[in-house]
């Protein structure tokens, strides 16, 4: 937190589709990638973030501001994260997990990963393929062999007609 010692420092972030965002340094340094740039003194002008588009970056900044406004209370932070992610569709989650990875923000990375994992858990292979548009590129023989090797994983799976 920038204390009363002066005006809070603001950083300008640029997405890969050339949108500019200003964000308080205290919130932005939740990203280790950005923090390193700040510490190395290369955050004077505009910080280009080549792997994040404007829509995703806007969302990530909302998160940065929201979570950094919460004092050190892990339960409150967690409930903020849950609420923040609750209305995000899978496309957005996939963009966010890539952005969180690039920006090195472990708390966002973990929360989004857990959310995606939660969708997959207990679901049949067919359901996951349909839900995420995963192409089955095994030959029937290969698939049979992989299934045989992993037949111990089939207990406790929901039935396949739950699309």
């Amino acid at each position: 937190m920038a204390a009363e010692t002066g005006t809070p420092t603001t950083l300008t972030l640029k997405s890969n589709d050339d949108e500019l965002f200003s964000v308080a340094e205290s919130a932005a340094i939740l990203s280790v990638t950005i923090r390193n740039m700040v510490e190395d003194g290369c955050a004077g002008g505009v910080i280009p973030l080549d792997n994040v588009d404007g829509k995703t970056l806007a969302s990530v900044i909302t998160y940065m501001n929201g979570i950094s406004a919460i004092p050190a209370d892990e339960e409150k932070k967690k409930s903020y994260r849950d609420k923040f992610l609750s209305d995000k569709d899978f496309e957005t989650l996939a963009d966010m997990v890539l952005a969180a990875n690039y920006l090195n923000m472990s708390c966002l990375m973990d929360a989004v990963s857990a959310k995606i994992a939660q969708v997959m858990e207990k679901k049949s292979v067919g359901w996951v393929r349909r839900k995420f548009g995963i192409e089955n590129d095994y030959t029937p023989e290969e698939e049979a062999a992989v299934k045989e090797e992993h037949k111990w994983t089939f207990e406790g799976v929901e039935t396949d007609d739950d699309n």
Binding site: E91, V97, N101, N104, R129, N136, E143, W152
Partner: protein
């Protein structure tokens, strides 16, 4: 975590240009391996292993997840998963057995699994076994272990070598101790320990919690179905302890070394009419609270039972003003508006100079007029702290 590769960023753009029918885009499979294994690390191992059937890209991904998470899995599942792994480290091992339909794991089998994890430099271990069989001895000499949670696990030996040099965070939840010395013996082998949680559901005569670097301690007794566990003597030696939480912890004698670093304490005594010597235990605890001179944030949650009420009656009005001068939160539970209750609430409000919040909860059975009377009385009391708010629940 590695930076997402250029290739993936580029590929994603190409996709979105190629087609607007998002249905056919496989967004998940095009995430980098490191991201996918991270996502898989949030799944139980059985579910994560099943993703290998999704497609070629997924064939071996799960086997690189450095986490093994088994919940209510049988021996075959655990052994198969361990055999098929490709990664040389296992950061985390969790074994959860079912309480209602537990699988039988032989001691030898358990030892094999623990040894497997230790050979892969396990850092975090979570065992929930519902078994009083001894834990593998080798576990107590694991050099890499940073976090360990043992729930309903077997006998902890009262003597013998314990060497857990990296262990910082230990949770003992309804663990079966061989004797009272077991705890002392275990802690003596954990020189780096900073966080300790002990939840007991059985009786102890002597509970010695001594740890030179311990910063946070939570001590709680829970019911084992019929009675709540108890302990006659508690000894705490923790010179750098900063936070202490005690829930339902009643001791006849409490002995503690200097607790000068202790700045936050959360004392929670909930009603237990079954406890025969309630009176005795509450008195020792109150003497203990009186000694917490450096505490900046004291949370008291005191419930009412007839005996306890009588006992606290006098005590509450004797809480030294030096303790009251830094209490920030007081929680009082099950207040019925009895005369002596109002007496100590009045005393506390008048003397707690920096109190921020007093939370008072009353039983649902309290009649409407009694509630009104209670609220009216309490809101008329003078408060030493202008900031103080009184909340009724």
């Amino acid at each position: 975590m590695a930076i997402a590769s250029e290739q993936h960023g580029g590929k994603r753009l190409k996709h979105s240009q190629q087609t607007t029918l998002s249905l056919s885009i496989d967004r998940l499979s095009e995430l980098p391996d490191s991201v996918l294994t991270h996502i898989l690390s949030f799944l139980k191992t059985k579910f994560s292993a099943r993703t290998s059937i999704l497609g070629q890209r997924w064939r071996h991904l799960w086997a690189y997840v450095p986490i093994l998470d088994f919940r209510q899995d049988n021996q075959e599942t655990i052994n198969s998963a361990m055999l098929l792994r490709k990664v040389q480290t296992t950061n985390f091992l969790r074994l959860y057995n079912s309480y209602y339909y537990p699988f039988e794991y032989s001691d030898r089998q358990l030892q094999t699994w623990v040894t497997f994890a230790m050979a892969r430099n396990v850092k975090r271990l979570d065992l929930f076994l519902h078994s009083i069989n001894p834990l593998p001895r080798c576990l107590l000499t694991c050099k890499t272990l940073v976090y360990m949670r043992l729930v309903a696990c077997g006998v902890n030996p009262s003597s013998g070598n314990v060497c857990l040099p990296s262990l910082k965070d230990l949770v003992l939840y309804c663990v079966y101790f061989e004797s009272d010395e077991s705890l002392q013996n275990l802690l003596s082998g954990c020189p780096a320990l900073e966080y300790l949680t002990i939840i007991l559901n059985r009786d102890m005569v002597y509970c010695n919690v001594s740890s030179p670097k311990m910063k946070r301690l939570r001590l709680e007794f829970v019911s084992n179905g019929t009675t709540c566990g108890r302990c006659d003597r508690l000894e705490i030696n923790a010179p750098v302890l900063k936070y202490l939480k005690m829930v339902n912890s009643f001791f006849e004698h409490i002995k503690c070394g200097v607790l000068n670093s202790l700045i936050e304490a959360d004392i929670n005594l909930v009603n237990d009419n079954n406890k025969p010597d309630y009176l005795l235990y509450s008195r020792s605890l109150m003497e203990f609270i009186d000694r917490l001179r450096n505490v900046k944030r004291l949370k008291l949650e005191l419930s009412y039972c007839p005996k306890f009420g009588e006992e606290t009656k006098g005590w509450m009005e004797k809480v030294p003003t030096c303790v009251l001068s830094h209490v920030k939160i007081i929680k009082l539970v099950n207040i019925k508006g009895k005369k002596h209750e109002l007496g100590y609430i009045k005393y506390l409000l008048r003397n707690a100079k920096v109190l921020e919040r007093m939370e008072i909860s009353y039983p649902g059975s309290l009649a409407w007029e009694e509630k009104i009377h209670l609220l009216h009385e309490i809101s008329s009391f003078r408060r030493a702290s202008e900031e103080c708010e009184v909340a009724f629940e």
